[in-house]
């Protein structure tokens, strides 16, 4: 029994599944990456504010085509910084909740934010009645921006954010239920991957030396994801989620889960477990 166990463990180690030792304590070397990450987030929230101004203005002006065109690109700044944005649960709900988070689904009064607007623009094909939701979204985004600027980022949330974004994709995005009316899910994927990879890239110098195999594996999986997504690029963004083939969906799914599995060790590796 024990013999089997030793052998299996040995193989798993050889395959990289269980590799890695935790660091005893976090290092001051983390200060640079953590600060750089906040600057990245601050840049994205500033972008989000600007993009959301244009998006909500188009809605309130009744410009359906423009509003639809701005929906996906506006979301990307939010999706990149989701590990931090979702620290504010009230705003996360009012900005990004989906209809199935509410008992009465689309008809629920509490259903607001991006997906409420998406529902109106695509499902109803109109900007009618959306102005209050647009105003609310804009106000929420301003509040988010202020709160993020005033926030001292918890190191474990930042470091854990790389895996958290992958968990997010694995749990609720890969199934194509995020942007169900607009089918712009691939924009969100791309942003989630970018957000995860940003954290990973910032931390990479801290682990590359002692864990080159880990770094090679994670780099490889991010590259594989990029290669798949590249096939679906169109202009500045992506084609409809419906064009994603089953084989590519499976490939993304396996990479996402493996990235989540591997990146979940980052906290421990950096002494933040």
């Amino acid at each position: 029994m024990i013999g089997t166990y030793l052998k299996t463990t040995g193989l798993a180690l050889a395959l990289g599944g269980w590799a890695g030792m935790a660091a005893a304590d976090p290092s001051l070397d983390l200060v640079g990456p953590l600060a750089d990450y906040k600057i990245y987030v601050a840049e994205n929230t500033a972008q989000l504010v600007a993009d959301a101004e244009a998006f909500t203005t188009a809605i309130k002006a009744g410009d359906l085509d423009k509003a639809k065109a701005l929906f996906a690109p506006t979301r990307t700044s939010y999706e990149k910084i989701e590990p931090i944005a979702e620290l504010f649960s009230d705003l996360d709900v009012s900005i990004d909740a989906r209809a199935d988070d509410f008992e009465k689904a689309e008809a629920d009064e509490a259903f607001t934010g991006f997906h409420r607007l998406e529902y109106g623009l695509w499902e109803k094909g109109s900007t009618e009645g959306l102005a209050p939701f647009a105003d609310r979204l804009m106000a929420d985004i301003h509040t988010l921006n202020e709160r993020i600027n005033g926030l001292t980022f918890p190191p474990e949330v930042v470091v854990g954010g790389a895996a958290a974004l992958m968990e997010e994709v694995a749990a609720t995005k890969i199934s194509g239920e995020e942007d169900r009316y607009s089918r712009t899910d691939l924009w969100d994927f791309d942003a989630n991957f970018a957000g995860s990879q940003k954290i990973y890239d910032l931390l990479k110098p801290l682990i590359a030396k002692q864990d080159p195999e880990f770094v090679a594996k994670v780099d490889g999986n991010f590259a594989a994801v990029d290669a798949v997504l590249a096939k679906y690029k169109e202009g500045d963004g992506y084609v409809s989620y419906e064009k994603l083939t089953d084989a590519d969906r499976n490939l993304l799914s396996s990479k996402v889960n493996t990235l989540a599995e591997d990146l979940s060790t980052l906290r421990g590796k950096l002494g933040l477990g």
Binding site: D25, P26, S27, V31, L34, A35, T152, F153, P155, L272
Partner: protein
């Protein structure tokens, strides 16, 4: 430089101070006492150098007693490369001050009076005390605050450059009113990050030197930076000849921004910065004024207070769960200092009555003393 009369109230406030610090003048009568004998090392600074000029002490928490034997006010600093480890500013002729600092083994320099004076050497040897200090306590709780402070340094550093560019443009355009307004604005980001920025001694000496510390005063070729421009705009009432100074300031602030971004931060530094700054304000700018030509110290102090508040807020995040009472006290003291500065806005500093300045200085001293209490609780040694 005005010499406000001494006030009895200071006896009460300062009489119990452990670190008796001499002011720039008779103002700090209370500290004119026999030198403390408990210091590990006495350093006498005369017109040209430190005596002794080479010191060796064991690593750990060391105290220095600095005696000003020259005829001008001095500052005394311990410098590691270009980084100021600790300093005492504005020690009046004939006065003394003590300075306690945590020193890791290594080679340091001491500044000795005028910036042109040769520096002394300070050698810190290995010791059990230093080793123990280095190996203690987890850094985890400081990581967030340290990172946040780095973000602040980067943001304010960049803003300082932008504001200086605006000042330079106004000077280039020869627009005196615009240049004066831009100068006041340009001071603010610098003052916010001054707790760390002044520790880059090479940059501080070109960005923010005071004529008082230069041999040739306003005519000294080393008189550059903010105050040189202030002198031109507010004392000489002209933008003339300021363009190269402004260009140089922009360039130096660019270098500063880079340094601030790359500066290695650690808990001991974070703990030391706000108290040192608050004390410096209480000892120098609040009693004496710093912007002697523009007289707008109140506005500068707002920014300086914001910089201290940023640091204090970050340290409160660390201490809140350890000592909620101290956390609350810091909140109260910080608010008091902020309110006190706010109440003086709009006044020319030379017109602010001495007792108001003294009261304000007392607020900052109290804040510094409260900040001092953090070290034994959340310090790493």
């Amino acid at each position: 430089m005005s010499n406000p009369p001494s006030r009895g109230i200071y006896l009460a406030i300062l009489g119990a101070a452990v670190l008796a610090v001499a002011g720039g003048a008779a103002f700090w009568t209370a500290s004119r006492q026999k030198p403390q004998t408990s210091a590990d090392q006495i350093v006498t600074v005369d017109a040209r150098s430190c005596q002794p000029n080479a010191i060796t002490v064991p690593g750990g928490r060391r105290s220095f007693e600095i005696v000003n034997a020259s005829d001008r006010p001095i500052e005394w600093e311990i410098v590691d490369g270009v980084m100021v480890v600790a300093e005492r500013e504005n020690i009046a002729p004939g006065f003394h001050a003590t300075l306690a600092v945590q020193l890791a083994p290594g080679s340091y320099e001491m500044t000795c009076g005028l910036l042109t004076n040769p520096r002394g050497t300070l050698t810190v040897t290995a010791s059990d005390e230093a080793t123990a200090a280095a190996s203690e306590v987890t850094l985890k709780k400081f990581l967030g605050p340290l990172s946040e402070y780095r973000v602040y340094l980067v943001m304010q550093g960049n803003q300082a450059v932008k504001a200086a560019e605006k000042l330079r443009d106004a000077i280039d355009a020869g627009d005196l009113p615009a240049a004066r307004a831009a100068w006041a604005e340009a001071r603010l980001p610098y003052r916010r990050v001054e707790p760390l920025a002044y520790r880059f001694s090479d940059l501080e000496n070109v960005i923010d030197p005071s004529a008082a510390y230069l041999a040739g005063r306003e005519q000294d070729p080393g008189f550059t930076g903010y105050h040189r421009i202030e002198y031109g705009l507010f004392a000489q009432n002209s933008t003339e000849g300021l363009a190269p100074v402004a260009d140089r300031l922009v360039a130096d602030l660019g270098t500063l921004a880079e340094r601030l971004k790359a500066a290695p931060l650690d808990p001991a530094l974070l703990l030391a910065l706000p108290g040192a700054m608050a004390r410096q304000l209480a000892e120098a700018q609040i009693p004496e004024g710093e912007n002697s030509y523009a007289g707008n110290d109140a506005r500068d102090l707002t920014a300086a207070t914001e910089g201290i508040a940023k640091l204090t807020g970050l340290l409160r995040q660390v201490v809140a769960s350890v000592d909620p009472k101290l956390d609350a006290e810091l909140g109260t003291e910080m608010q008091a200092a902020t309110d006190a500065v706010a109440a003086l806005q709009g006044q020319d500093w030379s017109q602010v009555p001495a007792e108001q300045r003294q009261k304000l200085a007392a607020d900052f001293t109290r804040l510094a003393e409260t900040l001092d209490r953090l070290q034994p609780i959340i310090g790493m040694n």
